[in-house]
C-alpha cells in the first residue's frame, strides 16, 4: 500500500495550484462567473496548454495517461479556486463516456478534441420529474432508418451554454424507469430541433433547460450498446462523483483555513474569538469533515476500476460524505464568520453555495444512502 504521489503527480498539483494562484483568485472567479459568457474561454485554453484536459486521458488518443488520480488532483485544486470552467462535464463525464462506451472511431474523433481543449461537453440526463434516477426518462430516441429521432426535455444541464456537444440519455425501449432500454447519444448542441434556455445557477455556474424536437441523429451518435446505457451512465457518473468529492474536499479546506484565520484575528470581549473553546471544537469538527472527505475522494478514486458493486458502494459512500461534510463545513464557516459570512463580498458564502449544490448533483445524501444500503444486502 502506498498513498504517496509520483513525481509527475506532484508536478501536476503544483502547476495547477500555481496557475490558479496567478490567474484564478477569488476576484477573478467573481468576474468570470458574472461575465456575459459565464466562463473564460481563455482560461480554458490555458488549461489545455498546461495539459490538464489531456492529463487523465489515454495516451493513444492524445492524452497523457494519468487516469483518475490525476483527475482527483486537478479537481481538488479546482475546488479550492471555485473554478467554473467545464472540466468535469467535458473531461470526466464526456471523456468517461467515450472511454467506456465509445467505438474506436468515436474515441478517435472526440478524445483528442477533448484533450486539446477544442471541444466542450455537457451531460443532459436530468428531467423535470426524474429526480436522481437515471432510468426515469421521458425523453425518447426512436429508430429512424439507420439513425434515431430524439424528442424530450432535459432539466438543469450544467455547462450546456458553453458546450459544443451534449451527451443525452434517452429511452429507446421499455417503459419509464425500466433499467433496460436506456441509451446514450452524442448530440450537436446546434443541431436542428435543439433549443436551449440558458441561465445562471445560484452557485455561479451556468445551466440550460433543453428541448429536443424531432432531432435527427445519425447511427454514429449512439454511445455504447443500444438499450444498455444505464450501466454506462452509472459507471461514468461514479467517476464524476469521485471527481466532485475531490472538488468538495478542496472547497472545504479553503473554508476551514479561512475560518481558522478569521477567528484568530476577529476580537470580541477583548480576545480573538478563536480562543473560545466552543468555537475551537466546532473548527476541529470542520477539520475532521474536510479530512474525511479527502479520504473518501482517495478511496473512491482508487476503487473506480474494481467490480461493479464495489465501485458503486465506494461512489455512494463518498457522495454521502460529500453531502454531510459539505453541509456542516459550509454552515459552520458562515456561522463562525458572523454577518461577514453572509455577504457576497467574502468568499465564504460562495464556497458554501457550491458545496450545497454538489450535494444535489448526481443524487443527494438520502439517495446514495439508499443505493449503498441496497448494494450491501
Amino acid at each position: 500500500m502506498d498513498f504517496s504521489y509520483s513525481e509527475e503527480q506532484t508536478l501536476l498539483r503544483n502547476s495547477v495550484a500555481k496557475f490558479l494562484a496567478d490567474h484564478y483568485d477569488f476576484e477573478s472567479y467573481k468576474k468570470i462567473s458574472r461575465s456575459e459568457a459565464g466562463w473564460s474561454r481563455s482560461v480554458w485554453k490555458q488549461f489545455a496548454e498546461l495539459g490538464l484536459m489531456a492529463a487523465p486521458l489515454p495516451e493513444e488518443f492524445g492524452g497523457l495517461g494519468g487516469g483518475a488520480v490525476d483527475t482527483m488532483i486537478i479537481m481538488e485544486e479546482f475546488g479550492r479556486a471555485l473554478v467554473v470552467e467545464p472540466f468535469a462535464s467535458t473531461v470526466v463525464v464526456g471523456g468517461g463516456f467515450l472511454r467506456h462506451g465509445g467505438s474506436a472511431a468515436q474515441k478517435e474523433k472526440w478524445l483528442s478534441k477533448i484533450a486539446d481543449g477544442s471541444t466542450v461537453m455537457a451531460f443532459a440526463f436530468a428531467e423535470p420529474e426524474g429526480r436522481y434516477n437515471f432510468a426515469d426518462l421521458t425523453t425518447t430516441a426512436k429508430r429512424n432508418g439507420s439513425g434515431y429521432t430524439l424528442n424530450g426535455q432535459k432539466a438543469v444541464v450544467l455547462n450546456a451554454p458553453h458546450a459544443d456537444v451534449l451527451i443525452v440519455s434517452a429511452r429507446t425501449a421499455g417503459g419509464r424507469r425500466d433499467t433496460k432500454g436506456v441509451s446514450v447519444f452524442l448530440v450537436d448542441r446546434n443541431a436542428k430541433g435543439v433549443s436551449t434556455r440558458d441561465y445562471p445557477t445560484i452557485d455561479g455556474q451556468r445551466a440550460s433547460e433543453i428541448s429536443f424536437d424531432n432531432v435527427d441523429l445519425p447511427a454514429e451518435a449512439l454511445l455504447g450498446t443500444v438499450d444498455e446505457g444505464l450501466g454506462l451512465i452509472e459507471r461514468v457518473t461514479d467517476e464524476a462523483i469521485a471527481a466532485h468529492t475531490a472538488e468538495a474536499a478542496g472547497a472545504m479546506k479553503v473554508l476551514l483555513d479561512t475560518t481558522v484565520e478569521y477567528t484568530k484575528t476577529r476580537k470580541q470581549f477583548g480576545v480573538p474569538i478563536g480562543k473560545f473553546q466552543v468555537l475551537q471544537h466546532r473548527m476541529v469538527d470542520m477539520f475532521i469533515q474536510a479530512e474525511q472527505t479527502t479520504s473518501m475522494a482517495l478511496m473512491v478514486t482508487l476503487k473506480l476500476d474494481e467490480g461493479e458493486t464495489e465501485r458503486k458502494k465506494a461512489a455512494s459512500a463518498a457522495k454521502v460524505q460529500l453531502g454531510k461534510g459539505g453541509r456542516f463545513v459550509g454552515q459552520q464557516a458562515v456561522q463562525l464568520h458572523g454577518g461577514m459570512g453572509m455577504t457576497d463580498e467574502l468568499n465564504v458564502g460562495h464556497y458554501f453555495k457550491r458545496l450545497a449544490l454538489l450535494d444535489t448533483l448526481y443524487g443527494n445524501v438520502d439517495h446514495h444512502l439508499k443505493r449503498y444500503a441496497a448494494l450491501s444486502d
Binding site: 436530468a126 424507469r177 441561465y199 445562471p200 445560484i202 470580541q268 456561522q335 458572523g338 458554501f352
Partner: protein
Amino acid sequence: MDLSFSPEDEAFRREVHEFIANNYPERLKGKNRREFSEREDFLAWQKVLYKKGWVAPLWPKEYGGTGWSITQRYIFNEECARAETPQLLAFGLSMVGPVIYTFGNEAQKKRFLPGILSAEDWWCQGYSEPGSGSDLASLRTRAVREGDHYIVNGQKTWTTLAQYADWIFCLVRTDPNVKQQEGISFLLIDMKTPGITVKPIILMDGAHEVNEVFFDNVKVPAENLIGEENKGWTYAKFLLVNERSGIAGVARSKKQIERLKEIATSETVDGTPLIGTDEFARKIAELEIDLTALEFTELRTLAQEAKGKHAGPESSILKIKGTEVQQRITELTLEAVGYYAFPYARAFGDNEFPPGPDYAVGQSGTYFNMRKTSIYGGSNEIQRNIIAKAVLGL
C-alpha cells in the same frame, strides 16, 4: 389547565379570519414568497391593521395596543401566518416603540409613537458595529454633547432595511472613560440629518437587506435622548429581550411546514410522492415534533408573562430553537426541490418565469439567506452563553 379554546376565542378567530380575508391587499398575495418586497409592500399590510387598531397587540392599550389576552394574541398570529401576510417590521413596533413608551418622556411618546403605529415613520436599528457584534457593549460610535445637541461620529453595520428608513435608534458612546456598559446612551436620529451615509451590503443570495450606516459630524437634538445619558445599556437589554420573545416564529414555521409538505407531495421519487418515502417522512416528522416542543415552550413563557412575570433569560431557548427550526425547514425544502435548487431566481426579470415548478423558485436563495437567523439578534452561541450564565449559574 385546558388546551381547548373558549367559544369567545373561537368567535375571535372567525373575526380575525374574516377580517384578513376581506382586507388583505390582493396584490400582496404570494408576493412575499417571491423575492424583492419594496418599501410599500412592507407598509401596505401594516396600514390596514393600523386602521383596524390591530397593529400593536404587544403594546399597552393606552398607547394603542389591543388589550388582547395571550390566547387572542396567539390566535391572531396564527391566522396571519395562515394567510401568509407579510411580517410586520419589528424595528418600530417591537423594538423602539416599547423602549419609548417604557423609558421615554411624554414629549417623546407623543412625537414618536403615532408614527410607529401608522407606519408613517420607518425605523431601523443602529446597534452592531464592525468591531462590535456579539460584544455589543464595546461599541465605539461616539456622541459628544455640545450645547443642546449631540455630535455623532462613527459607523453602524448590518442595519436592516436602512435604505428605506426615516429614523434610526442608535446606541452611542457618551462616556469613554467608564466601564463599557456604563458609557452608552440611546439616541433617536433622523435619517435625513446631514452627515449620514447609507451603503448597501449584498448578501450571498443576492439580497439587499442590510447596510452600513456612516455618521460624520451628525447633529442630533439632545431632546432625542431616551431616558438618562449613559443609561442606554439598560434600555438596550430590555429591547433585546423583547426582540427574542417574538423570534420563535412558531405560527410562521407551521405554515412553512405545510408548504414543505405540499412540495414533498408534488415531488416524486420513482413515481412515489417524496413525502411517502420513509427517509423524508421521518425528517418532516422530526421537524414537526421539534416545532411542537417549541410551541409549548413559548406558550409556557407567554402564560408566565400574562401573570406579570417578565420573560427571563430562558427566553433564549425561543431564539435558539426557533431559528433552528426555521433553518431546518429551508434545508428540507431545498432538498425537496431536487435539481431545481440550481437556478438563480434573482437573475430572472419580473415577467420571466424561472425554470422548474413555481414552488421551487427562490428556495435555494431562501436556504442560504436563512443562515443569518442563527447569527442575528445575538448569535445562537451568545444565547447559549446567556442560558449557561443566567439560568444554569455556570
